[in-house]
């Protein structure tokens, strides 16, 4: 019994320590506070894109290695507005990630930024998508 308690305590403490020693901010995306989903009541509301005023062109994001393989996107901006997102790496033909990228793209185009909710069942892909998208947008800003 004592040993069980000791083993549990040591394991929990070890896990906590390992996790605590890592940086707690995403290296690619600037700390993104969870954003409420776009209010559904006003579908016509045009999301603002304040930072990227005027920028146009295509910008390629970083390749993000995820548990389900690398993900990379390329964005097209027209006068600061996010008009298209092409997935360069990360398409899956089967499994839960199959249509996840399409849904993520839809969400990102609606939100006009990378602060989008993950697709259920495609957590890793979603994270990779958001990071790659954020790095592409950062490039557009810079």
């Amino acid at each position: 019994m004592l040993r069980a308690v000791a083993a549990t305590t040591a394991t929990v403490a070890g896990l906590f320590l390992l996790l605590a020693l890592k940086p707690h901010q995403s290296p690619t995306a600037a700390a993104a506070p969870p954003v409420e989903p776009t209010p559904g009541g006003s579908p016509s509301a045009v999301p603002s894109a304040p930072e990227r005023d005027g920028t146009s062109g295509t910008f390629t994001g970083d390749t993000i290695d995820t548990a389900r393989g690398p993900v990379q996107v390329r964005v097209t901006l027209a006068k600061g507005r996010l008009t298209a997102i092409a997935v360069l790496k990360g398409e899956h033909r089967e499994g839960p990630s199959a249509d996840a990228l399409a849904r993520l793209t839809k969400r990102a185009l609606a939100a006009q930024n990378a602060k989008i909710d993950a697709v259920s069942g495609a957590t890793f892909t979603s994270e990779g998508y958001r990071s790659s998208l954020q790095s592409a947008l950062d490039r557009a800003d810079g």
């Binding site: 394991t11 996790l19 995403s26 259920s120 069942g121």
Partner: protein, 457 residues
């Protein structure tokens, strides 16, 4: 209740010359543990290298889930390796200690796997803002290889539940042993999701290769030691039951003959795992110690009626084919560090001590505990050995308060002068072994000179 002390003084008997006493040999069992924990550290390093940051609640949860998952996957391989009957591991660590490590590690691993599952599901559901039930369903049915992984986990939990102490008491050794084989299936099923979903493997080829090497290596060890070796032995040595001989109420000796038995290299104190190819026997390989020094034509085991399997041993017919895995066990002369040896046997625990009593060099004393005088199996030959080599035998008969020689430091000290200078080999039922160890420690016998082997699985 009687004591039957047989103090024999040495006559002019050709005694084996006492060999130079070796320095107390520290068995590098701890070395094996260092390797195991070193591997665990390498696994943690893998996670560390692949994890740039831990962000948010979901980051913490999936991070903890990944670590526990990696450790559980690693532990499964280690647990199987411990049970792969690798001769060198067996000699160095000792079979009983390996079994203890396996049992402790097994319990821990079941909890690691559970924690991994719960943390990953919780973390992913936080990250994707779905409820836990939906998230579980999505992961189980849509993630690659996770359905198999789930079945593997459920099997592992099932085996864990039946192996729990309370459940163990209600089933025979054989049933429990065979349920345990489900863990092979569980580990196999759970293997694939580790590589197809594990963030540390998908993007890291060397890590994947290392993982495959670990698992395939363990599989090769298992196949070689637990299957190919017994088959090869069976073909080469052609072991058969020669004779079954009653020794005491409920105790029989089985003589096994075969060819080229000297090649087996069995030492006094060691045991084999025996599989008798007869109805009701062939599916179980049970550990029984050799109860006589192996000679080139015979092996002998002495078995007490315990579980269903050992009861049926008494009914084995001469000519029955036998497969033997072994020899195993580190309960041999190599453990001795002093010229004086005390052997403490309880009940059928006398079996490995009997050949040691005959062959250990130096000054050997045997104390043999049994409930009743008629339970003292092999008594006749023990007396003969004592007479031949001028050793002493004490028979202690009785139970609990009625015993003539209680297992206490004082009582043992009265029978064996300078007890603290002896190496002590203890073999008997768990209660007796424990009492003996306490008494010996009280009498000042250093722990490294107390050697015991228990077969309580």
């Amino acid at each position: 209740m009687t004591t039957v002390p047989h103090a024999r003084t040495g006559g002019p008997v050709p005694r084996p010359a006492p060999p130079p006493v070796r320095r107390p040999r520290r068995f590098p069992a701890e070395g094996a543990l260092v390797v195991v924990f070193g591997g665990a550290a390498a696994v943690l390093a893998l996670w560390w290298r692949h994890t740039p940051s831990v962000v948010g609640l979901d980051g913490w949860l999936t991070g903890a889930g990944r670590i526990t998952g990696l450790l559980a996957g690693y532990a499964c391989a280690v647990l199987l390796a411990l049970m792969a009957r690798v001769p060198v591991l067996d000699r160095v660590v000792g079979t009983d200690r390996l079994a203890r490590w396996h049992a402790t590690g097994g319990r821990y691993t079941v909890f690691l796997a559970l924690a991994h599952t719960a943390l990953i599901i919780w973390g992913s559901s936080v990250s994707s803002r779905t409820n836990v039930i939906d998230q579980t369903a999505t992961m189980v049915f849509e993630y690659e290889d996770l359905l198999q992984g789930t079945i593997g986990l459920l099997l592992l939990l099932g085996v864990g539940a039946v192996s729990a102490r309370a459940a163990r008491r209600r089933m025979s050794y054989e049933t429990w042993h065979h349920l345990h084989f489900c863990t092979y299936l569980a580990v196999f099923l759970a293997f694939f999701h580790q590589l197809s979903n594990g963030a540390d493997f998908v993007a890291d080829r060397p890590a994947r290769i290392a993982w495959y090497t670990l698992y395939l290596g363990v599989a090769a060890l298992l196949l070689w030691n637990r299957f190919l070796t017994p088959v090869r032995r069976a073909l080469r040595h052609r072991l058969r039951v020669a004779e079954v001989h009653p020794e005491a109420p409920g105790v029989v000796s089985v003589y096994v003959t075969g060819r080229r038995l000297a090649e087996l290299g069995a030492q006094p104190g060691q045991f084999f795992r025996w599989r008798f190819l007869a109805p009701g026997h062939w599916w179980a390989a049970n550990p029984f110690s050799l109860s006589a020094p192996a000679d080139p034509r015979h092996l002998r085991i002495t078995v007490k009626e315990a579980g269903g399997h050992s009861r049926a041993v008494a009914r084995l017919r001469p000519g029955t084919r036998v497969w033997a895995e072994g020899p195993y066990g580190a309960f041999t002369a190599a453990r001795r560090s002093s010229a004086k040896v005390l052997l403490l046997g309880g009940g059928v625990g006398i079996t490995p001590l009997r050949p040691l009593f005959e062959t250990l060099p130096g000054e050997v004393t045997l104390v043999y505990f049994a409930r009743r005088a008629e339970d003292l199996a092999l008594r006749g030959e023990l007396d003969e050995i004592a007479a031949a080599r001028g050793a002493r035998v004490h028979y202690a008969v009785g139970e609990g308060a009625g015993t003539s020689l209680p297992l206490t430091a004082d009582a043992l000290g009265a029978v064996i002068p300078d007890l603290a200078a002896h190496d002590v080999y203890v073999c008997g039922p768990p209660g007796m072994t424990e009492a003996a160890r306490r008494a010996l420690r009280d009498a000042g016998v250093p722990r490294r000179r107390i050697h015991h082997e228990s077969f309580a699985f």
